[in-house]
């Protein structure tokens, strides 16, 4: 059994250590908010936070997450919504929405590191692929968040 901490909860799962974290989350812990897009760490749909850092879970062996704090979209807010999720609604960012959970996780990590990111920092951090074309609104939402005072309700992130 592998002992994981996911969204603040200790869980034990009986899976192969080399199984990518993505599939442990989706199929074994039933946390389907984290998405499969490419399986080769290119698209970022599977982005989760591990100890606050954005990680592409499709190539990370689940054993590498043992003893670390994994946060998925489902655990981003303790109650209700994280401010990034609220901004995503405010700016009507998602279209199909498939890549957006990973996109938001990347944005949470970016804002934690750079509360007022420049466009260059946004370009460098937001490398997730979106086929629908939400990029301009992602940037707008991040800039809007940068202008907000950061509260203490940022969940496990």
């Amino acid at each position: 059994m592998l002992q994981l901490t996911v969204n603040g909860r200790a869980v034990a799962i009986d899976v192969e250590p080399e199984m990518p974290l993505l599939w442990a989350l989706r199929d074994h812990l039933k946390l389907s908010g984290t998405k499969y897009g490419c399986g080769i760490s290119v698209c970022g749909s599977c982005t989760v936070l591990i100890d606050g850092e954005p990680v592409r879970s499709c190539v990370l062996p689940v054993s590498d997450a043992v003893g670390r704090n994994v946060v998925t979209i489902e655990g981003l807010a303790r109650d209700g919504m994280h401010r990034v999720q609220k901004a995503w609604i405010e700016h009507q960012v998602p279209q199909c929405g498939y890549c957006q959970t990973g996109m938001m996780m990347a944005a949470v990590a970016l804002l934690a590191k750079h509360p007022q990111p420049t466009d260059v920092q946004i370009d460098a951090a937001m490398t997730n692929l979106c086929r629908c074309g939400t990029y301009a609104r992602v940037r707008t939402a991040i800039h809007a968040l940068a202008k907000q005072p950061v509260g203490k309700t940022a969940g496990h992130a």
Partner: protein, 716 residues
Amino acid sequence: MSTSPSRRDFLKASAALGGGFALEFSFPLASWAADGASAAEVNAWIVIHPDDRVVIRIARSEMGQGTYTALAQLVAEELDCDWAMVSAEFASPNEHVRRQRVWGSMSTGGSMGVRSSQDYVRRAGASARQMLIEAAALRWQVPASECRAANGVVLHEPTDRTLRYGQLASDAARLSPPAEVKLRDARDWKIAGRSLARLDIPDKVLGKPVFGVDVMLPGMLHASIAQCPVFGGTITRIDASAAEAMRGVSKVVREESFVAVVADSWWRANEALKKVVIEWDTGSHGDASNETITAMLRAGLADPDLPQARTLGNTGAALANAAQVIEAEYQSPYLNHATMEPQTCTAWFRPDGFLEVWTSTQNGEASMAAAAAAAGLPLEQVEVHKMMLGGGFGRRGGPQDFVTQGVTIARALPGVPVKLMWSREEDMQHGFYRPASIVTMKAGLDAQGKLVALHTRIACPSILKVLMPGALKGGIDFTAVRAFNDMPYVVANQQVDYALRNGHVPVGFWRAPGQQNSFYRESFVDELAAAAGQDPLAYRLALLKPDDKNRLVLEAVAKAAAWGAPLPQGVYRGLAIADGFGSFTAMVAEVSVGAQGQLRVQRIVVAIDSGYVVNPDNCRAQAESNVVYGLGSILYQANNVKDGRIVESNFHNFRIPRLHEMPKVETVLVPSGGFWGGHGEPAILPLAAAVCNAISAATGKRIRSLPLARHDLRAG
């Protein structure tokens, strides 16, 4: 007719309850008591609960284009309910069939979601409003003409009485619908026409299980599939012994053209699939390549007996008499849709003989038909649960290959729900591709440089031949000839020849089918303007009729982009127009090209006349979407063919633009009324030509094939 809340309500509710771990749909369905048994279906589109919640049924699919919300706005507008009380749900394909197709079309493509259902959904709203008014009048014993409805309440002003819709719905549901209703003038809209927040976004930002790949059922297993890498090939032999011994594997399913492994997680299924030894019979196409496909298209262009998609005047004579003749050849490669969510289908053969299917589909009814056919069941014994699509772009409409496969795999495990999901590699290499095509254009200009004759020859695989052969007319596929057979420019002599040449690569409706023709035509028009020594804007305006709506958007975009005004140093403009999918679109692209040939699309200004606009912000989002989707195909994307198979396998060699490449997009909505146009596709039509015309302005290089990755844009 009164009804209890639908099964889908319950599924959504039980999915939402989980809020984290163990998000599983619950079966069987016990009772509706907790959700208010007296919710009333006023008509097929509208269910009103006693607490005034209004559920609007949506027959079309939602793939990010916003139709789910826009259609709800149109119904709510005519119903005149409180928008804050509105939610939406997908109409059931099974009920649709059993109720004589009461929801009209479920097909979601061609930018038709709003424009081809706006009339009947608005009538449904207006009809329900009238029935609610009549129910109130009966309750009060007053003439209905003394009552009116607004914001979810019926009022009787002479006695100052009111009744809420929730109090009236079950009475209204028992009344006959009015024989006729009057629809509101768009100028009086209160709910439609506004940038209301989309109904589907909150669940999506919360990461709720709304997509096809998110389906979770008790006891469900997962399947991964391997199809013959050469289209049309079959299996000769497999050795699944190693796979069958792997952890979690339940079954290896072998069919004529695919192998699927079913396991207790998708990763285990996919790992086991890699261990299945498969010998393929690649059939007769194992030698197909870019070269053989190009040769096939060229042979089509050389055919002297092609059918004509348009014949005006005498093009041959006019070309012979022209002061100047300009010729050019353009071409485009195959393109995959590459939806972010791979193809997926969950199927469950229930012990009672009923088949349930969950899938991301652009056409719930077509999915049901495919499922029923694969299962050998009558339609009435199949239900399709329409999930949110992680992108569609045409991939999930006509072809229902993923449903056929999903049902076929689940049939091997009766009683067990099985979720099939394709790997990205399968998705990239087993698409229904945007056709590769080659087009030649020969134009005659008069002494003033005006276009007087255009002879176009198009060699292009037919999408209709693959997906809707009955729609082919006289050997012409309208998707292959559009932009030429319906060209708005007034040119007395026109001939459009079409060579239908389909190779073994399956082709399909890729966002704005035929959009490559707009690239060819509008690039070539710039070539003609240059040959005539004229400004591209003035040249186009001179070819358009005075009252042509193309002219209005062209003038609107020229104004918004300040066409002709100085630009920052190193920035150049290009222009293009396109009408299609019911709307008129004109675009200005501003680009810069660096010393190393690096292209930067700085700004896109697009003007769109769709007649009416139901949700302006969503229409702008669709313009942004078309720009990014199109930009990938302009900059990077091509699906090459070698040894009969698609070369590209994942996003590392089928590149998608990233955030840092996104240009500024300014959308100018100029709805002129009187017609209903679409928004899901129009803005992609002029994009490639606008960008390449700007590149020509910047570098002097004329781009006649895409993607740009094949070209050197450096000076010299």
